[in-house]
């Protein structure tokens, strides 16, 4: 079942001269973790703000959890949870007090809100810090609390705007694991500029660039079509790299890179690696480093025909 659907969504600023979202069509199935992937300034946050009714669209239509999205609609907000990119809570409150407040805003009694708050705090790993002031929380604790507050109203759809922004690797891992576990409770739509984040937890990914949708695919399909692994070689000098490109030009590979770095995209990466080693040995070229690495967001966008940055 489709829980989020938008068609021809546009948002312009400054009298139409700045297009934040440009004719976006999107459909999200229920019970999934859906990733909106794109570089900074792609329009991801604006899309989420429109879908949550925080700002109005200039044109186009959107439906969330069975209802038409209208700006500032309390009815819509009863069905959704929202975590801002830079969540700001009351530093003088404890984590539990904040969740009980949010429960009250959703019409829950204090007892009901308290019970749910305790359950969500425990599930998000904040059980021991529940009574501490939020002002003393670390960045990943604030994000965890943000996810917990987004779930307080038992929403059908949860929108998370860059939930891993500003987190260290350990914090990022913990928060992603927490989000991955949410699909049993709600449909999750998150934004991120990091490809590895969506690969890790998202079932479906939409790539957004300059306000437009470049692709929307199941995550394995996106990886296969647009983000295959690449071979990266760092040569001794830019001259050596130029020589390698010349010798490899006849192969069915795509070559990128600048200076001493050569990136090779091939359908069969292990075979390409063996062939490259033979070329290097045959022509006596010195290589400093050679590795197979995953594609980055910029590779995906370039493959999809977008310009980067």
């Amino acid at each position: 079942m489709t829980v989020v659907e938008c068609s021809g969504l546009c948002k312009t600023y400054e009298g139409g001269s700045v297009k934040a979202v440009d004719g976006l069509d999107l459909a999200v199935e229920s019970g999934s973790v859906f990733g909106l992937l794109g570089p900074n300034g792609a329009g991801k946050t604006t899309v989420l703000r429109i879908l949550t009714g925080l700002v109005g669209s200039t044109s186009g239509t959107a439906r969330v959890a069975g209802g038409e999205v209208s700006v500032r609609s309390p009815t819509l907000r009863r069905r959704i949870g929202w975590l801002d990119e830079d969540p700001r809570f009351y530093g003088w409150m404890s984590g539990r007090e904040l969740l009980v407040l949010v429960g009250g805003l959703f019409g829950q009694s204090r007892i009901e809100a308290g019970r749910r708050a305790d359950r969500l705090l425990a599930a998000s790993g904040l059980g021991e810090a529940a009574g501490r002031r939020i002002g003393g929380y670390s960045a990943d604790m604030v994000q965890r609390l943000g996810i917990a507050q987004a779930l307080m109203g038992r929403p059908g759809v949860v929108f998370l705007d860059e939930p891993c922004a500003a987190l260290d690797p350990a914090g990022r891992r913990g928060v992603l694991d927490l989000i991955a576990g949410l699909r049993e409770e709600a449909t999750v739509i998150l934004t991120t500029p990091v490809l590895s984040d969506v690969e890790r937890i998202c079932d479906t990914v939409a790539v957004v660039h300059r306000g437009s949708l470049l692709a929307s695919e199941a995550t394995p399909e996106l990886r296969r079509l647009y983000a295959p692994p690449v071979l990266e070689l760092e040569m001794e000098s830019a001259e050596e790299a130029r020589r390698l490109r010349a010798h490899a030009a006849s192969r069915a590979w795509t070559l990128h890179g600048e200076g001493p770095v050569v990136r090779v995209e091939a359908d069969d990466v292990p075979a390409a690696r063996d062939a490259l080693l033979k070329i290097l040995a045959a022509h006596g070229m010195a290589v400093r480093r050679m590795e197979v690495r995953g594609a980055a967001l910029e590779d995906v966008i370039l493959r999809l025909g977008g310009e980067f940055p």
Binding site: T52, L54, V55, R72, P74, T75, R77, R78, W82, D84, D86, P87, R88, F89, Y90, W92, M93, E97, V100, L101, V102, G103, G104, L105, F106, G107, Q108, S109, G153
Partner: protein, 253 residues
Amino acid sequence: MNLRAAAALFGKEMLSQARSRRLPAALLALLSIGVASPLMARFAPGLLERMAAGVGVGFQPPQPTWRDAMGHYAKYISQAGLFLLVLLSMGSVAAEKQRGTAAFLLSKPVPRSLFLAVKLASSWAVAALAMVPSALGCAACTLLLFSGLPLPHFLSLNLCLLLYLCSVLSLTLCCSTIGGNRAAAGALSFLAWFLLAGLAAIPGFGEFLPPRLAEAGLASVSGAVSWKPFVGAGLLIASSLAAAAASLRRWEP
């Protein structure tokens, strides 16, 4: 459902007032005013007499009465209370918008009008709570230093002063919603209130404006009640709330 949301918001506002020490500060400041007013009324004339005698000027002030104590009380509450409450409440909406907590609250099923109404109600509650020890302190000292304070009339004076402060707080809430930050909101509030106070000096029309409430309260101590400033206060409160709601409706976090 909105009642529970309103109760949750109101509880949060009062908790914020208490933890940020705004409530205790208001309680202490207004208590000081309440206690100081009869003391000033009782001892200031004697002090002036001695000062005048010290420079060789003959000065015989009239014997102070409880009416002087009420005059001081009304004057201090309407002046110092005004400054205090504007300073304490000028950031109520502006600071929340700046810090991003307003966006957080308004992403929940909270109508913007409810958000403002609760802000106003909580600031009124703080004013009312702060008036209690102030009035009790003033009444106790007045009864101790003078005689004959008519308590029903004193109560009517306090209700007029409370309405005066509520009018100031409504205007401050409006300025806090419209102003971009705490300082701008405070400056706008003072400016708007001083403008109203200037207009209140105009004979006829000025009698309908809320700055005349303190005067009306003092008159009520003598048993004469003028309803005119109450009309102005009601209009100011309603129009402030409407202007704040219109401004917040257009705001995009």
